[in-house]
């Protein structure tokens, strides 16, 4: 007799990925023979130091690390909920798992991954390299699908993504699109973030996103060592990344500059206020200053998306919004404090967003690179042409359906 465990959103090859948001799962008996129901204990089956999961019979937060189920011998599946245990993400595929025991004997296992967006400063070398290799494949020295991501973020699309309430939802969608493309190359990859209010010397290291030569007169070209995945990075006729820090990378960029807020700390950012109208000011600070804390591609809108750091920077911007949402419980589009009404086209809750909606001409830009939002085997959300509003509840706190990503320090907490 065996117990087979299935998780909603498994890949065609059977691999399963979880975040902090509970997803549906089933357990059923195979070759049960005759007799009454079987008492099954579900528990963590990963490797030591790996990811952990929690179980529940409903979609709630704070599940338990084991669950008893009674399964009928005829193989009828029994529903339960499973989620990554907050604070215990995976480091590689299969270091987390579910084990089913009957009377102490293991009768079923399902390896999986608690796949979480992490602080890039804390990545293991293996995690870092998987991300870089996937990113390099996507770029393919300028010939790969990354082209579209670079083309989405230019002067002509400024209005769609900046200076209005949809700044945060648009970039959340942009990152999710990129992350899913990375996962199509390597499903074990999640987008890491640059926690810009803390020192991040591991990121600005030759093995990760690199540094230019020491003297400013040498130019801003980042020096990737031979064999580095990004050695062939290219986003136009030229190669490489131009980036030079305007601060000492052993520390963090300053939170004040010219007597005004600059790269604000996380508490300061969340302290902007409990309404979205107040939080929006984060586009001015810390977001803008984070871009300008380096010279080079990342420091101007038309060139920023040519530097991979852009996506780590915006990962943190999105995480800050997610953290604020969780702290203030702002996932409900009907809550006037969860968003700010009165924006222009593309900045209102029911508006679909360019470029994923394919709309061109008129008030939209002339072309729409990249097509619809990349789908994911793990979830059907948020759909190929997401609206501004659907991007708020990314963990499915209210909707019951998550979008397949979560941050290492922002938990799932049901409404």
């Amino acid at each position: 007799m065996r117990v087979e465990i299935d998780i909603e959103g498994e890949l065609p090859d059977g691999r399963a990925f979880l975040t902090w948001a509970p997803v549906k799962a089933t357990a059923r008996v195979i070759d049960g023979g005759a007799g009454g129901d079987v008492d099954v204990l579900l528990e963590n089956g990963g490797t030591p130091g790996g990811g952990k999961v929690v179980f529940d019979t409903q979609r709630r937060h704070d599940g338990e690390s084991s669950l008893r189920l009674r399964l009928p011998r005829n193989g009828k599946p029994v529903l339960f909920w499973v989620a990554g245990e907050f604070g215990e993400p995976s480091k590689s595929y299969g270091d987390a798992g579910i084990k089913a025991r009957v009377g102490g004997a293991v009768v079923g296992t399902l390896p999986l991954m608690v796949r979480i967006r992490k602080d890039a400063q804390t990545l293991t070398p293996a995690e870092r390299d998987r991300f870089l290799v996937a990113l390099a494949r996507l770029n393919n020295a300028g010939a790969g699908p990354f082209r579209a991501f670079r083309d989405m973020h230019t002067n002509l699309s400024t209005r769609e993504a900046h200076g209005g309430p949809a700044f945060l939802p648009w970039h959340r969608s942009y990152l999710l699109d990129l992350e899913r493309e990375l996962q199509a190359v390597d499903p074990s990859v999640a987008l890491p973030y640059w926690r810009f209010d803390k020192p991040a010397p591991n990121i600005f290291d030759a093995h990760f996103l690199g540094m230019p030569a020491a003297s400013p007169t040498a130019g801003d070209l980042v020096r990737f060592p031979p064999g580095h995945p990004l050695e062939h990075w290219s986003t136009d006729s030229f190669t490489g990344v131009m980036r030079r820090p305007n601060f000492d990378v052993r520390g963090a960029p300053p939170s004040r500059r010219a007597g005004r807020g600059y790269v604000l700390t996380e508490p300061e950012t969340l302290g902007l206020g409990p309404s979205f109208g107040q939080l929006r000011a984060m586009e001015s600070a810390p977001h803008g200053p984070a871009h300008v804390s380096f010279s080079g591609f990342i420091s101007s809108i038309p060139t920023a998306a040519k530097d991979p750091l852009f996506f780590l920077l915006h990962g943190n911007v999105d995480r800050l919004w997610a953290k604020w949402q969780w702290a203030n419980r702002r996932f409900d589009t009907a809550d006037p404090n969860a968003f700010q009404a009165g924006g222009s086209l593309g900045h209102r809750l029911p508006d679909t967003m360019w470029p994923w909606n394919g709309e061109t001409g008129g008030q939209r830009p002339p072309t729409a690179p990249g097509g619809p939002l990349r789908d994911s085997p793990v979830t059907k959300q948020p759909g190929p042409k997401p609206t501004v509003g659907v991007m708020l509840d990314y963990l499915g706190v209210r909707s019951g359906r998550d979008q397949g990503f979560a941050y290492d320090d922002v938990p799932f907490e049901a409404a």
């Binding site: 900046h162 040498a218 064999g227 508490p267 969340l270 907490e413």
Partner: protein, 274 residues
């Protein structure tokens, strides 16, 4: 950890900090930089103000450009201020002004940079910086200037920048191949040439890279770059199934002890999807 416990901890942490707006006001600072752009620009262009204050002010204004259309009302004044700073005495301010104007494809900045490359006595930034700034516009007519620098300058950084710039010139492939093969050249020069060559002429790159990859008398660095490029070429599997190439990749990978390179090696296994 339980979410409810985490919430308790986090809220305690937030409450321990003075609310942001209060903290700034206590420091006598303004909350909203964007409202104050004219005065920040005045500080930035004031030659008598301390340089760090000027740079801080300029960075604040440039940070505000990320608001997109909300910055439009200041755009013309900002460009005018940057034009002023191009010839400023402070090198850091000149560099920032020239870079940010170049990112906006400003032809005044491009002319200044080009003049400085043609006549070093007029240069306002290093040749490497000038070439890089001009490369922010693919249509900036920078390639003849890159050739000029390559012929004239002995400075390694300038030559590397010049070679990087020549990737935009389809006629540069043979030049790249020559430098890539040259064992007497600096490793940075060979590396940038290899990367550029693969972009311009994949077939020629494959030819040169294969020779270098299996040459035990050549340097590890260039062999690593060659292998890295071969591994992402359209016929990677075929190339990497060559025993000599595979053996080199293993040897180099072990010497480099780099995770990323071992990821590369893992693609050499037969049947792997390169």
């Amino acid at each position: 950890m339980k979410a409810s416990e985490y919430r308790r901890q986090y809220e305690a942490q937030l409450n321990a900090e003075t609310p942001f707006a209060e903290g700034l006001r206590a420091a006598g600072a303004d909350v909203d930089a964007e409202a104050d752009i004219p005065s920040l620009l005045a500080v930035a262009t004031d030659a008598k103000a301390p340089e760090d204050d000027r740079q801080a002010a300029l960075e604040q204004v440039h940070a505000a450009t990320f608001l997109g259309q909300a910055f439009d009302r200041h755009r013309a004044d900002y460009i005018a201020a940057l034009h002023k700073l191009v010839t400023d005495d402070a090198p850091a301010l000149r560099r920032l002004a020239l870079e940010w104007l170049s990112a906006a494809k400003d032809d005044v900045a491009q002319k200044v940079l080009a003049d400085g490359l043609k006549d070093p006595a007029k240069a306002l930034v290093s040749a490497a910086s000038a070439l890089e700034f001009l490369s922010l516009d693919e249509h900036s007519a920078v390639t003849p200037l890159a050739r000029l620098v390559l012929e004239r300058d002995k400075d390694l950084e300038a030559r590397v920048a010049a070679l990087r710039t020549l990737t935009a010139d389809p006629n540069a492939a043979d030049l790249f191949a020559r430098f890539m093969r040259d064992k007497d050249e600096f490793k940075e020069v060979r590396q940038i040439s290899a990367v550029g060559l693969q972009k311009l002429n994949e077939n020629l790159f494959q030819k040169v890279a294969q020779q270098i990859a299996v040459d035990d008398h050549d340097f590890d660095d260039i062999r690593a770059t060659a292998l890295n490029g071969l591994a992402r070429s359209p016929i990677a599997e075929q190339l990497l199934s060559n025993p000599a190439v595979r053996a080199s990749a293993k040897a180099i990978g072990e010497k480099l002890a780099s995770n990323a390179f071992s990821a590369l090696l893992s693609r050499i296994k037969p049947g792997s999807d390169a």
